[in-house]
């Protein structure tokens, strides 16, 4: 605090070099604008290059044919799209109840519970730091963990199930965090009103608080979907690489991101790799747009109702 005051004071003393300062300012502005420009240019360069190389490859045949496997790089990506869909749905189904449940507990019950008993307070603190730790773990560690626990120890092998369980662990912190935020934005008056009308606590939560917090929770889910689609390392070691469509959750398959990797490294079909990557990027852009729209509705709801 004092250093800032000092610098303000020293500024006052240096009035004579105003012209110099003005030149510095122009230079500084140029520098800062350049940084921003470079950042945006990089975004457009990468996305533009991938789309320009990939979009011409995409046609109905590409989307509806199965990858031909091996090193030919022939065929399309139909099974990878469906496998990715399976993966996303399965992972979300596993992760959402756990994540939303955890968030509900942390927001609604944890306050009273920690006041009641020191042990519970400690457990809750541990749970909270668990969420933070898990949020920072890199995805390859989740892959390693999934490989050790689900693929090897539980003998589930390379399958949709092992991949989804590992993926659920990956997105759990995201869902918990966003759900917690969403639940916190529900005004206290809602809860108090419901309780005063005689409803039980869990009735209040499930019928009143949760629906109100829905947009925020949905944002978290959509964010997780984006993460799952983009992730590769974790599925590389738990899903396997079979180009056939998984016929059950115990079968192996190939997600779109994995397909990009395999096309790029094994075959020389870089154009197909770019095509698959374009589909990936377009899905991510779509998801980002959805998040923006949903969160805008969320803020409108909060500000509007208030």
């Amino acid at each position: 605090m004092t250093t800032e005051v000092e610098s303000i004071v020293s500024l006052a003393k240096n009035k004579r070099s105003l012209k110099r300062q003005k030149t510095f300012q122009v230079l500084g502005y140029i520098l800062v604008w350049a940084c921003g420009l470079i950042a945006v240019a990089v975004v457009f360069w990468i996305i533009g290059y991938v789309l320009s190389q990939g979009l011409p490859v995409i046609d109905m045949e590409f989307l509806t044919t199965r990858p031909a496997g091996g090193v030919s790089g022939e065929g399309g990506m139909s099974t990878t799209i469906v496998t990715t869909l399976y993966l996303v749905v399965l992972t979300i189904v596993i992760a959402t109840p756990m994540g939303v449940g955890a968030a509900i507990y942390l927001v609604e019950y944890a306050g009273d519970a920690s006041r009641e008993s020191k042990l519970v307070a400690f457990i809750i603190k541990a749970a909270r730091s668990g969420v933070e730790i898990l949020a920072g773990v890199p995805s390859i560690i989740f892959g390693l963990f999934g490989f050790a626990l689900f693929v090897s120890y539980m003998k589930l092998g390379f399958s949709l199930l092992s991949a989804s369980l590992s993926g659920a662990a990956l997105v759990l912190p995201t869902i918990i965090r966003t759900s917690e935020e969403a639940l916190l934005t529900v005004p206290r008056s809602y809860r108090e009103g419901s309780l005063s009308l005689g409803a039980t606590k869990w009735h209040t939560i499930f019928r009143i608080v949760l629906p109100t917090a829905m947009p925020g929770i949905v944002t978290g889910i959509v964010l997780s979907v984006g993460r799952i689609i983009a992730e590769t390392a974790i599925f590389w070691v738990t899903l396997g690489g079979s180009y056939h469509l998984p016929q059950s959750i115990m079968n192996s398959g190939r997600s779109m991101a994995l397909h990009v990797y395999m096309l790029a490294s094994e075959t020389r079909a870089f154009d197909k790799a770019m095509g698959t990557a374009s589909i990936l990027i377009l899905s991510i852009i779509l998801l980002n747009l959805t998040i923006n729209i949903v969160s805008r509705r969320l803020t409108a709801r909060i500000t509007g109702k208030k």
């Binding site: 496997g69 090193v71 079968n251 192996s252 790029a264 490294s265 020389r268």
Partner: protein, 306 residues
């Protein structure tokens, strides 16, 4: 209320009867294709129809293969042919390298392991139940980037290049460029076979230089060598194409004929392993591979067992 209940129970009964009487199955057969099949069966001209009807009886199930990336494309083509004759069968082939083939076959994670070299004694000690079936032979070619022309090399020269003794292509009759060595990861059967046949010849055993770019499959080696200048590496015959330059060894071109004639010396067996006796489906697949039909497919890019 009574009438509603009555109507409802009638509906339920009718449905139950329909359901038990004619249990429909999901299938794609249209009425036209069914009648076509009947017509062709009535035709007595082709024996093929009869033999196909015989072989497609009864074989169903699923087997998984994993291991050598050299064997992978061959196994996939063989699997496609086998599955065409036996539509109720599903054969999944994955890569990972020959060591994956040994470990997963030995541990029972997959039904058959693919290995592109001889099985080592130490491996037989760890998994005493392993059975080895040779399905083909494959040569290893020394390849360079297509912009690089090299005269014939001796085995000794190849050894010195890959160990880092020779650092410039000019030393072996090529252009004046620093040598970039491309190799495989340690679990690769191709690498193990290469080490046994090239690096361990002569008086001293040499090791592959640690500056080598390491790739995880034949496909990746081919991609890297074809797109990066000044590279040299080793590649299975089945992956040779116009994107890389194959170098003659001891004045002998790397072709299937030369291996058969015994002139080209760098070759190794392609094996499939099972833990104990192969199960029925695996045995049927093996019989198919070793039959004339299977060996015809092998002969396209590799060397048949005889």
């Amino acid at each position: 209320m009574r009438r509603k209940l009555f109507v409802l129970s009638i509906l339920v009964l009718v449905n139950a009867v329909l359901f038990t009487a004619c249990a429909p199955e999901l299938s794609l057969e249209t009425e036209e294709s069914v009648s076509e099949a009947e017509e062709s069966e009535a035709d007595t001209e082709s024996e093929e129809v009869e033999t196909q009807a015989e072989t497609s009886e009864g074989l169903s199930g699923q087997i998984q293969l994993a291991g050598s990336t050299t064997v992978q494309p061959l196994a996939e083509v063989l699997a496609e042919a086998f599955m065409a004759e036996n539509p109720d069968v599903m054969i999944e082939v994955q890569g990972g390298g020959s060591s994956v083939g040994v470990t997963s076959a030995g541990e029972g994670t997959v039904d058959m392991g693919n290995v592109s070299r001889n099985v080592k004694d130490s491996e037989l000690e760890t998994f005493p139940e392993l059975q080895v079936f040779t399905i083909a032979y494959d040569g290893i070619a020394i390849v360079t980037n297509p912009d690089l022309e090299l005269p014939s090399l001796t085995v000794e020269q190849v050894k010195d290049i890959f160990s880092g003794e020779i650092t410039n292509f000019s030393e072996v009759g090529g252009p004046d460029e620093a040598i970039v060595v491309v190799s495989r990861e340690e679990g690769s059967g191709t690498r193990a076979a290469f080490e046994e046949l090239v690096m361990e010849t002569g008086d001293e055993v040499a090791v592959i230089t640690e500056d080598a770019l390491l790739q995880q499959s034949n496909g990746q080696v081919r991609t890297t060598i074809s797109t990066t200048p000044s590279t040299i590496g080793y590649l299975s015959f089945g992956f040779l194409d116009e994107s890389v330059n194959a170098v003659a060894i001891e004045e002998v071109e790397p072709t299937v004929e030369n291996v058969k004639a015994g002139d080209y010396v760098i070759y190794r067996p392609l094996n499939m392993l099972t833990n104990g006796d192969p199960n029925d489906l695996a045995q049927a697949f093996l019989d198919f591979i070793l039959s004339d039909d299977g060996q015809v497919i092998v002969a396209e890019e590799y060397i048949t067992v005889d």
